[in-house]
């Protein structure tokens, strides 16, 4: 009988508290999810409330307003509420693997009330199959590239590394093609500044860019450093920054957690 009482009470309380027990967005737990809503344009979803779409033949009037090079009839689209680094890194792998170009990287102020960016990334392709392939590759990469994104209730930290930067990183950050590239992001920006300083002191790297709330970001509460150089040095700089960032962000809240649960750097 106690069990029945308990069951009833739990139900009552849940009702009263007004919490509907939602099925959580599956994509936000990890692997890309492909539950096709019956649209040929749909490719899949992934971490960060990211969706991947493809348009075989963009309407001419819209194509022009979007400012896309006319030679790309087809476009692939990935866009999410959380991230920008992870999606740009994933797009970089996608352009390496496919016959596409990154024609637009737009960074809204977002993260669902968090301190950073969301994103809208558009691949241009002559064939729709190429655009679709690029989106598929990018969605698949996201689980990895969200590995070193750490979040708690006060802010976030983000670290990205690649041994060989390609066109998406060149477009977004001015990264030298083919060289090792690293990205360091800290929010609130005060923490980011110290992460940046730690990184450049930890190894001989070249600073490509520094962005902060008033310049180079979409008014986010982040300090962002992009670095290039010797592959070992770039990694070393990132790892040093990560260590400091995790300690600092912990002073404002709980221990920050990796969004995918699997750090890769």
């Amino acid at each position: 009988m106690d069990e029945q009482v308990i069951k009833k009470v739990v139900e009552d309380v849940l009702k009263k508290v007004g919490i509907e027990q939602k099925e959580e967005n599956k994509a936000n737990r990890g692997e890309p999810v492909i539950t096709n809503p019956g649209l040929t344009e749909f490719v899949g979803t992934a971490l960060g409330d990211t969706i991947g779409l493809v348009i075989a033949n963009v309407d001419a009037s819209l194509h022009e307003k979007m400012g896309i090079d006319p030679k790309y009839r087809s476009i692939g689209i990935i866009g999410g509420r959380t991230g920008a680094g992870p999606q740009i890194m994933a797009a970089d792998e996608a352009v390496k693997a496919t016959n596409t170009e990154v024609v637009a990287i737009e960074l809204p102020r977002d993260t669902k009330g968090g301190a950073g960016h969301g994103n809208l990334i558009i691949f241009g392709a002559e064939e729709v199959s190429d655009a679709r392939r690029a989106v598929e590759v990018a969605l698949k990469e996201l689980r990895r590239t969200f590995g070193d994104v750490y979040v708690n209730e006060a802010g976030h930290l983000e670290f990205q590394y690649t041994a060989r930067a390609s066109y998406a990183l060149q477009k977004a950050f001015g990264a030298p093609l083919g060289k090792a590239f690293g990205l360091i992001v800290g929010a609130p920006a005060a923490i980011g500044v110290l992460c940046c300083d730690t990184a450049v002191k930890a190894a001989e790297v070249e600073v490509i860019g520094y962005a902060s709330p008033a310049k180079g970001t979409s008014m986010t509460n982040e300090a962002i450093l992009s670095i290039s150089g010797d592959s070992g040095a770039v990694r070393q700089a990132i790892i040093a920054a990560r260590e400091v960032g995790l300690k600092l962000l912990s002073t404002l809240g709980e221990a920050p957690k990796s969004l995918s649960g699997e750090p890769y750097i």
Copy 2:
């Protein structure tokens, strides 16, 4: 006795969970609410945490800093945390119905952590009674204009339609006066792009403008299309975009719900 136990437990749990059972903002449930706080300037509140106010005689020093045409002694103000489309549409009806002009439409990055805009709209009038009337009309229209705003935990969709655009829509979007006008908004922006493409493919409409995170928005995570043309075609374009948008946004979360519960298009 069981009932008593249950009651006590529910109370205990609620206390422990720390959830105060708040009276929800009544205006956010629908009709404009007028609980005057004892200020002659207060007109009412409405959906989207919208408040309506009136100033009979704006202080000269502030008037100048606000950059309002000196001939308008009186101003009406509506402003909300959520929306921009709904409030601009409502303002459009207000200018049709009153002797006022829309002198400012400012769009903060807001929606309370959502992906879109809030708004601050100012009516100029020579008589305070006109300014007040404009605010009253706008607040009353909001229930309708929030009808095709759909929201879930991952984003939002917004559709607006009028058979005859007036001065607020002209000011905000460059809509041709007296012609049918439609607005299509999708967030995250990736979904918006596909909604826009669907709309222009569905009917012969004229694209007035396209906005995205990096241009034409306040860095929101939205793609926005404004269209004009034949009244039937504009509606058809919007309805097609709405169908696609609802399917896509559902892939990232629950089925999106109309904010007012009463779609009007």
Copy 3:
């Protein structure tokens, strides 16, 4: 036995509701907290998810990218998710009390999904001890300067007053040095507009600046007035605006509460 039932049910419900009973960020309850994470750069934390840091010798490559005057080897940093007014006021006291200069005030669009700004403020100093001292003073002042920041679920109000403005207020708002200064902020911006009008009508003050979503803010949903003049008049203007603001914000939600619980004006 009833007690046992209750205990078990509470546990079950909490588990089901998915609410982890977190230790709240201690700094957000009041006094600066100094739980050093083992970094010499860490100074402390305070209200508004504010962190205070110091860098004794900023790396040359980063120093240049940050655009800081080369004569300042050392920097002090305060940055938070919520506030801007409180932190700028606190920084103003810090520059009065120390041998430092405010070299940067950057205002992200933030407040954790709220309607306003976060902040990143950098003090330049020739000696690291001066930079550290400035950060310590600023963190300590924050409890006071958050006293007249009022928040509810719909928006916020913020009031600041000093009898004698110093260099941080000059840099941020163009405040005349050594004169009384006041700051009035209301969100949503519609409420802010009426607060501003009320202030300038209540006393003979000089309007230094007016900011709104489209100009002078980081696209926040705020209207902001900065005023100068006779000390009594500035206070009187602020107090009148506060009274109106509290009434208006209450129409959209619960009675707004002081963030520190101790209004100072």
